[in-house]
């Protein structure tokens, strides 16, 4: 069905020179798609296979001995590695907290901005800025603002009547500070996606709901929420994967400390691979991470696939 609509070149088929046209069509397809395909093959598919290979070896960076086959022992080791378990747990906490807060805040704010009041469009455009800023600079500025001795967050806190807080050096607080930073950067993005989705909702559905005598909360739960479901899933998956893979904030603000309280999985992987430096072990972690991301990205793909069919 899709083919008949998109492949307009079949128009030329019945002509006498159809064979020539078909050959040209095939050649054009190949020429257009191949370069991008080759780049992705070399820098996406091949590294995955290579990571699998590395993960089955004792593979130390910058050692004279060649890598030695190790079977699945790297994975076995991971299973008993308390530090690995801790990092998975920290990542999980980080994702649930940060993405959860971003989703709730962004969702509510989308309704606030969904109006034609004068000036709201300008404000909305300004809120977009955090999502495009270099994460490392975000880490730098929040590191400064969270400073115990001269940070502005502490100053606000003291003005409100508190005493100075060591935000980035005290156990659970450090992770919460990183969560807050992530919330600052990504809530606007979530809000903008929900805003766009709200704008795209058809007006007639609401008219019908009103005619049917649905109350405000009924309209929200039975009309708006179901219609926003695809947008909710899409932004949830994007945010979850991006939160899972980012390590810039940790790099800039805590370096995984204090005592591993902010050691997220990407940070543990990075330090294992390039500071320990045990590439085989890091690759085993990478493979597990890839498996997880693949599952999440498949959910995303499904979501988009189903939309393509209905479109």
């Amino acid at each position: 069905m899709e083919a008949s609509r998109t492949d307009y070149f079949s128009l030329g088929e019945p002509k006498p020179d159809s064979m020539k046209l078909a050959v040209e069509r095939r050649r054009a397809t190949w020429l257009l798609i191949a370069p991008a395909f080759v780049v992705l093959l070399g820098l996406n598919l091949f590294p995955i296979v290579y990571a699998l290979y590395i993960s089955c070896h004792y593979w130390m960076l910058a050692r004279p001995q060649p890598p030695r086959f190790a079977g699945l022992s790297n994975y076995q080791e991971l299973f008993f590695d308390a530090r690995f378990r801790n990092s998975v747990l920290v990542s999980l906490k980080f994702i649930v907290l940060a993405v959860g807060i971003e989703m709730l805040l962004g969702f509510g704010l989308a309704f606030v901005f969904n109006t034609r009041l004068r000036g709201m469009a300008t404000l909305r455009k300004l809120t977009l800025l955090p999502s495009l800023v270099m994460p490392l600079v975000v880490g730098l500025v929040w590191f400064y603002m969270f400073n115990e001795n001269f940070g502005i967050v502490n100053w606000f806190w003291v003005v409100l009547g508190g005493t100075r807080v060591p935000f980035l050096t005290q156990g659970a607080l450090a992770l919460l500070s990183i969560v807050a930073t992530d919330v600052w950067q990504w809530t606007p993005f979530v809000m903008l996606v929900f805003f766009a989705a709200l704008q795209a909702l058809p007006e007639y559905v609401y008219e019908a709901a009103r005619i049917d005598g649905l109350s405000g909360s009924q309209i929200f739960f039975r009309v708006t929420l179901p219609l926003l479901r695809p947008a909710i899933l899409i932004v949830l998956i994007i945010r979850a994967v991006d939160a899972l893979r980012s390590l810039e904030l940790v790099f800039m603000m805590t370096k995984g400390g204090p005592a591993g309280d902010t050691e997220v999985l990407p940070w543990y992987l990075y330090t294992t691979g390039f500071m320990s430096p045990d590439l085989g072990y890091a690759a085993a972690m990478a493979v597990l991470m890839l498996a997880l991301v693949t599952i999440l990205s498949q959910l995303f793909v499904r979501q988009l696939e189903s939309r393509e069919v209905t479109r």
Binding site: T6, L31, V39, L136, V137, V141, G216, P230, A231, A286
Partner: protein, 293 residues
């Protein structure tokens, strides 16, 4: 929650609603203004810290009124130990620009192929390309490091350019595929009848028609390349090091050189702010891969 459901048209139309709108409208303004202020405040901190003297940077309570100085910028660019930030800036510009150009050229070609031709396995290929958007750099860094090392391309511009091209291809292909399929097919059919070859149609007819899409995908790609940290950190040391690599050096400054690093941070953020305003319209579409328009 009812409040949120009052649609824009209703606000203008119904008298009953507009009477109810004023306290709600004010509340909207208040919440929106606080949120916008929250979003913008760190930018204020970046720029003002870069413009403060060292004493003002470490002052408690924070100094709000101060005489701006360009000393930190001057230090970062001309004095500060090691290489000048200009060097990293130039690398960032080269690598972002070239990788964006390559990604847009290759991506536009593939996008056109996906939008206008049919072939076996097309859907699978398209969705595989989409899924590469989620590739976590930290999971790829180990194999990619060894690949780059074996190719003898550590600390080279070309390695980062290739990697960033691959990183941005899924974005370019998916966004432009949408733009291409929105072109009325009759235009290209007419060109075919006029005797254009298929590649000529792509180059001379279709490509000029999706210029807005190309501009926004190019800007987004450039931003992603510009901001990328992990590959740059691991794969470059001096010759091809980009701005994030410079900023990563902050941890070696013993937490003292705030002004200088904020000055470089300002330089890293400013171009993005300018681009963002140029981009506006297609941003959400771009960031969600056309899933939300």
């Amino acid at each position: 929650m009812t409040v949120g459901l009052v649609r824009s048209k209703d606000l203008k139309a119904g008298v009953r609603r507009s009477a109810a709108a004023w306290p709600i409208g004010t509340l909207r303004y208040l919440v929106a203004a606080i949120f916008t202020g929250f979003c913008l405040f760190p930018f204020y901190v970046i720029v003002t810290t870069a413009l403060k003297t060292e004493t003002a940077i470490f002052a408690w309570p924070p100094v709000w009124n101060f005489k701006p100085t360009l000393q930190s910028f001057y230090n970062a660019l001309f004095v500060f130990g090691g290489r000048s930030a200009i060097f990293y800036l130039i690398n960032s510009v080269i690598i972002s620009a070239v990788s964006t150009f390559v990604a847009v050229v290759l991506g536009a070609m593939a996008a056109y192929g996906f939008a206008r031709f049919s072939f076996a396995g097309k859907r699978h290929l398209a969705f595989w390309i989409l899924s590469t958007r989620f590739a976590p750099p930290v999971a790829f860094i180990v194999p990619i490091y060894l690949m780059v090392q074996k190719a003898g391309m550590l600390d080279s511009h070309i390695a980062l350019i290739l990697i960033y091209t691959a990183m941005n291809l899924s974005l370019v292909i998916w966004i432009l595929r949408g733009f291409f399929s929105e072109i009325p097919i009759e235009i290209e059919e007419a060109a075919l009848v006029d005797g254009y070859s298929r590649l000529q149609i792509f180059w001379r007819v279709a490509l000029p028609l999706v210029r807005p899409g190309i501009v926004s995908t190019a800007i987004l790609s450039a931003i992603f390349s510009w901001n990328e940290f992990l590959y740059a950190m691991v794969l470059t040391q001096s010759k091809a090091a980009t701005l994030p690599v410079y900023l990563a050096g902050f941890s070696n400054s013993m937490g003292l050189a705030w002004g200088e690093y904020m000055a470089v941070g300002t330089m890293a953020v400013l171009p993005i702010l300018i681009f963002t305003f140029a981009l506006q319209k297609h941003l959400v579409r771009g960031l969600t891969f056309g899933a939300v328009k």
